[in-house]
């Protein structure tokens, strides 16, 4: 390859990378981050995005350059050079992606382990789902039942899942955490809210007619306000 074509290739790659970076950075890809887990998950998201932009730039550069430089007229009868392979290149593009995905796997596994670990003195809440309602029980507060999930800020919350009919899924986009509620399976989900506010709870597993409307809210409160609410006998 001539030096000129290497420069052209790199320029196309940088341009493709710039376009991809703009797509990654200009829109708000992720909603507000309102939990400690969300912060970690966002880190994985951007880590993977960086790697993907790198891979995309290389592929785009080679594709665009080839389409631009190697196209011929339909009546051109000549053949290309009979290159059958290149062991070095083939080892390279086996090894480099293997390393990249290994790094993603390691980062993901660490984040997953951290997100799965409940903090000290967690608040325990039972999440109940039925077609097409959410309700929340607080075993630490005389099994108080609420139709809105209220949790204190900066305290670890352990949600235990209970489905009364079919499969539902508990998702708060601002927490980035999601867990299916399967009849008979009492999975747990760990959330450490770190931003006061009200966020949507969305059912993300098709559960029948009212699936699209199966919504509820989570309210992250100051600890004192939460205690005051939780101690009250009535809802």
């Amino acid at each position: 390859m001539r030096r000129g074509s290497i420069v052209q290739l790199i320029v196309i790659g940088v341009l493709a990378g710039a376009v991809a970076s703009a797509v990654a950075l200009i829109p708000d890809w992720l909603p507000t981050s309102a939990s400690r887990e969300a912060g970690r998950i966002d880190f994985v998201f951007w880590f993977v995005t960086a790697i993907c932009i790198f891979v995309f730039s290389i592929v785009a550069a080679v594709t665009i350059y080839s389409v631009w430089k190697f196209r011929v007229k339909p009546d051109d009868d000549s053949d290309g050079p009979p290159i059958h392979g290149h062991t070095g290149l083939e080892i390279l593009w086996t090894a480099v992606p293997a390393l990249l995905v290994t790094s993603i796997a390691i980062v993901s596994a660490i984040v997953l382990a951290k997100d799965d670990a409940a903090g000290a003195n967690p608040l325990r809440v039972n999440v109940y789902a039925q077609q097409f309602f959410w309700s929340y029980g607080y075993p630490g507060y005389g099994n108080k039942i609420s139709s809105v999930l209220r949790v204190p800020v900066n305290r670890s919350v352990v949600l235990t899942m209970h489905s009364r009919d079919v499969i539902h899924s508990f998702w708060v986009p601002e927490f980035r955490q999601k867990q299916d509620l399967v009849p008979g399976v009492h999975a747990t989900l760990h959330i450490t809210p770190n931003k006061v506010g009200t966020y949507p709870v969305i059912c993300t597993e098709l559960c029948g007619l009212g699936h699209a409307l199966m919504r509820s809210r989570v309210v992250v409160m100051e600890p004192a306000a939460f205690e005051q609410w939780a101690e009250k006998k009535t809802k």
Binding site: V67, G80, P81, P173, G184
Partner: protein, 649 residues
Amino acid sequence: MSTIAEHHDAAPVRHGPPPPPRGWRRLLYPGMLRAAWMVPLFFGIGSAIVVLCRWWGNYQPIWFGEIIVLIGALIAAPIGFLAGIGAFDYWVRYAIGSPTKPEDHSGHGAYSWRDYFRVNTDHKVIGMQYLATTIFFFLAGGLLAMLVRAELAKPGMQFFDNQTYNGLFSVHASLMIFLFVIPAFAGLANFVVPLMLGAPDMAFPRLNALSYWLLPIAGIMMLSSFLVPGGAFASGWTGYAPLSVHQPLGTIFFNMGVQWAGASSIMTALNFLVTIITMRAPGMTFWRMPLLVWANFTTSLLVVIATPFIAGSQFFVMFDRVMHTHFFDVGAGGYPLGYQHIFWFYSHPAVYIMMLPGFGIASEVISALSRKPIFGYRLMALSLMAILVLGFSVWAHHMFVSGMAPWLRVPMMITTLMIAVPTGIKVFSWLATIWEGKLNFATPMLWAVGFVSMFVIGGLSGIYLGAVPIDIHTSDTYFVVAHIHYVLFGGSLFTIFAGIYYWFPKMTGRQYNEKLGKLHFWLTFVGFNLTFFPMHLIGTQGMPRRVSDYAPQFGNWNLFISVASFALGASTIVFLYNMVTSMRRGAPAEANPWRALTLEWQVSSPPPIFNFDEIPQVVGNPYEYGVPDARHAVLNGDRAATDTEVRSH
């Protein structure tokens, strides 16, 4: 339309079926007429068995519509149809000891349009039957998608109620998967693989015909579920239990439709395996097989191993419903997550069933139209095998948030991410193949290169979904919808179009309209990206999938997506117009318009009725473009030259 037979007017044997008898005997002659009375007869027999059993056992109510529909309409009537058109005639005669008709090849070839509507044992005719049928269901599935997008154009409910909406996207996905992508690849391979192998037909032509005729049954079953009380099956193509157990009647149309389509897939896959293993032309070692043949070999292995699992999963759901078994009933000791494990043990490999044949098509098109050997041929074949093996070890990545055993997540994540390695090898090898080639951007090449670039995006979004923490956020959102469409539309469908345009001259003997082909590509390419790319964004921002209504903040993007999707849908009209007019009036095609080396191009377009007048002798690799005097095979009269070449290899 030109038929395969036109080129064989001088053939010594009169091909085609004998003319049907006149008078009432015609009712006994295999065909649509016989099917027309055997379908109601079998329906009656099936229903009578149900009613008699219920009467004898005193099960109330004796006339129970649901079971009558299941046994009578969904099991017995289709068997009656198959018997009526004559799919079983030979085997029945053989089984009862009456003389079988000697093979006079009367089942081969097509002489008029009617021959496409009878049981035909010619792999080329069957390939065309497959393609016409699958394109029909592609259009049906596409129209359903248009209705889905119409409903989603604005927040709130516009045109449909929730049950209908859930039915629309469920039937859309089921048709596209079971009646379009999987069988369209089977149809292309049906036409091409025997030719590529230098074989006169598939190993089991009658089984081949039967596999085809199971397909329309499955498709009509899934579509007709809209007509039954309660509407179409509405628990998604994934049909998760226990929701699917308690849905209206339409659900059993899905449960049984999958059985018929699955049986069709398995029979075809067995046929491909035996054909590829036993019917390669002399000299064609495994390492001289075109990559399309490799791809169908690995796909067939996947189908044979995996498809019984989805059949089982749908039977379990149906048994829970009609027999009151308790596979997925927690109250009676059932295990709902078991459904997902069994379902995805098929349905993840199914993703590769829907992609590997496309990899094969891309390899054929890219190599021939770049005028270069495929880069790293052996690694290309081996990476198919690697995907086959790894593909069975990743199913639980669909279940990261399902509540399954938590320890399974990290191992399944590692295997999932590892699949990126063989897939990456294929992408890089295609790019290295076009590098320094002489790229002829005819329509098939546009689709093939378009496929590589779109599949890269689909593959990269797959990395996001493979990483457990990101998947926890994006699972069951529009991000997943975007991902599967980049893989199955930008991947599978683009390669199906590449294949249809690439082999169109071979199949029909006519050339398609190049300008319209390019227009079709660009409309689809742009429409596809405008439709599906924004779905990534609204997914990560918080829009769940499978909802008829959504938060107002996503209104603008959804309107944009709907408008783009209508443009995308309209691009199909260009395709249809091109196909229909070119088939009737296109310029006659040369035998080898792409100057390709593989065997299907060494015979006339369309090919002779038994493909090769003389068994070809394979003497080299299939992609030796640019190698002076290289040949893949020797045909017709080159014996003197051949002998030395055979010895030297």
